[in-house]
Amino acid sequence: MTSAETLPRPARLNDYLAYPDSHGRFGDYGGRYVPETLMPLVLRLEQAYEAARDDAEFQAELGGYLSTYVGRPSPLYFARRLTEHFGGAKVYLKREELNHTGAHKINNCMGQILLARRMGKTRIIAETGAGQHGVATATVCALFGLPCVVYMGAVDVERQAPNVLRMNLLGAEVRPVTSGASTLKDAMNEAMRDWVTNVGDTFYIIGSAAGPHPYPMMVRDFQRVIGVETRAQLLEAEGRLPDALVACVGGGSNAIGMFHPFLNDESVKMFGVEASGDGMHTDRHAAAINGGRPGVLHGNKTYLLQNADGQITEAHSISAGLDYPGIGPEHAWLSDVGRVRYLTATDEDALEAFKLCARLEGIVPALESAHALARLPEVCAEVGKDGIVVLNLSGRGDKDLATVAARMGIGLTGVAG
């Protein structure tokens, strides 16, 4: 392998696993930029999480639910036809779409709701974009009998109607958010407002590895199971580590969960794929690292889409789950230090990859995951024929059928309408 020439490396020997520091920072990113009303809460949450993390009983309880309820471990599948199609490296798919509720989101929700119970919280709130995190949150709330309010942009309520119905069936109240552009960013603002107003009894289950410390660390830790399993499964199947990992990044929880256990293995290249919507030559994209600059939003310092005056601009992507103007702070740092490379895929790229994966592997991926699939040709070519690439198939595409049908000009009466 010749990764050393092509992979930019930090100036000094680094332990990537030593972050965040005690201030919740990944380099200059992260932190706790919340109104004072929330500060005592955020500090208590950090203490409670650290105590739970180090408690074998908590971990055993979580592990039990992950195996018997979520269905873990998820398989690591050798994608023979995709491999042949691209003609480069061997492609493995980490099948997070086979989890209960159809995406990786439930790994984190299960961890957070067990923590909420441990902290004596009696009401759960969440924000959702594509609805996958909302469904996962509503699911664990049903499981433990806790009331659940999910904030969802009114535009997303419309384009993800099946997931709204699913949340309602699970007993959650979905509150459409009409402020701003009525998408994920605005849903997160509204969830923060609810949290500020109901600090006593409410636990906010954030769905991505973003927000004030300890959320980026906590969500990452709950998603690390993806990378930890992948490592063991690939060692079993191939007797060695992968040459490259690929995952889509919106906020970036599936990607950081896959990447984190491999960060100190310098031979493993990592590629995050941002959504570039109509293309990076337009302003209609959702690529915070490739098209944004550092700023502060929703409790953390990270790369953000913003105008010259520091106003947050709207993200655009065919995939509701990537339609967010920021990215988790650990990704911002991993990009700056060169450990992970952040590529982009357009709406069109993602649609093509969506169809290709369905046809060649019999797997309908989420449009989010399709962004990662779209960059497989380049990644496979870079690591070469003898290489191994693992792609995190973070979710399944059933929820996206209406969106894809509309793009293809197909009427969908009775399927998802």
Binding site: R32, E36, T37, V196, V199, G295
Partner: protein, 280 residues
């Protein structure tokens, strides 16, 4: 060049209020709302209408601690072209005729970070800004901002809230100058009503910990509420009621400035007479 009282306008104003044995009335308006011309007329008219201090909101696209009225005010101002440079321009013009009324900017960190802390502090001082409240910048994250503001003599004003216990209060009041802003309710602006009987002990606690005057805001809309708070605090802040007045006037085709200034006059009177009526 404007003449600034020794120790700054905020200190001078609270000392004067103490001599008069009354609380101050703080009017919050969003800079550039509904558009720069009307916003300028509102700003110029507020001191005569009874505002002892002015809080000027820096419009931000994602104001997560604010309720719907102030969110909408920010969006109106942004749609009408307000920028951070525009905010400083507004303050600079105000200072051409008023060199004594303190102006405190209130906003979110990103527009400030975007221009840079040093450039922000320098421009604020030049324009005649006296203080800054950065809503999403808790003490743990504030040192670089506080350093820049210190270099230019702009007060960093901290928020204390119902969730701030004694241990936390010591952290919150460190490096705080001018006054402390006590957020009277756990919630967003304009959502719940402040209760004077709950606020009184909190104000006393914050005053003792900081040695500074305490202004109370977030749940005050009416002259009656303002008067009740004025009996227990050093100043009462009203915000959402003003931005609502602007929205109402616009929808009725009336002059927003006239509506805001009339409302300010009523609130100012209530605050000024609160302690004398309580005493008598």
């Amino acid at each position: 060049m404007t003449a600034t009282p020794a120790g700054g306008r905020i200190k001078a104003r609270f000392e004067a209020l103490a001599r008069e044995n009354r609380a101050g009335f703080v009017a919050y308006v969003m800079a550039g709302d509904p558009e720069p011309g009307t916003a300028m007329r509102i700003l110029h008219g507020l001191p005569a209408a009874g505002a002892d201090l002015i809080e000027l909101g820096i419009p931000f696209s994602d104001p997560m601690a604010d309720g719907p009225p102030i969110q909408r005010a920010a969006l109106r101002a942004l749609a009408a072209g307000m920028t951070l440079a525009g905010v400083f321009d507004l303050v600079g013009k105000f200072r051409e005729t008023d060199t004594v009324t303190p102006i405190v900017l209130m906003g979110y960190l990103n527009p400030i970070l975007s221009v840079g802390f040093e450039a922000f502090a320098a421009a604020a001082a030049t324009a005649g800004v006296d203080g800054l409240i950065a809503v999403d910048c808790p003490p743990e994250e504030a040192d670089p901002l506080a350093d820049a503001l210190d270099r230019h003599g702009v007060d960093l004003i901290r928020l204390a809230t119902p969730t701030t216990d004694d241990a936390r209060l010591a952290i919150v009041t460190r490096r705080t100058r001018g006054f402390v802003y006590y957020v009277s309710v756990a919630g967003v602006t304009g959502a719940k009503a402040a209760v004077a009987v709950d606020v009184a002990p909190a104000v006393a606690r914050v005053r003792a910990a900081s040695g500074l005057p305490v202004a109370v805001g977030f749940g005050i809309r009416t002259p009656e509420q303002a008067a009740a708070i004025a009996q227990v605090a050093d100043a009462a802040v009203v915000g959402s009621a003003f931005v609502d007045a602007i929205a109402d006037a616009m929808s009725e085709g009336a002059d927003p400035a006239a509506r805001v200034l009339a409302l300010a006059a009523g609130l100012g009177d209530a605050v000024r007479s609160a302690r004398s009526s309580a005493d008598g």
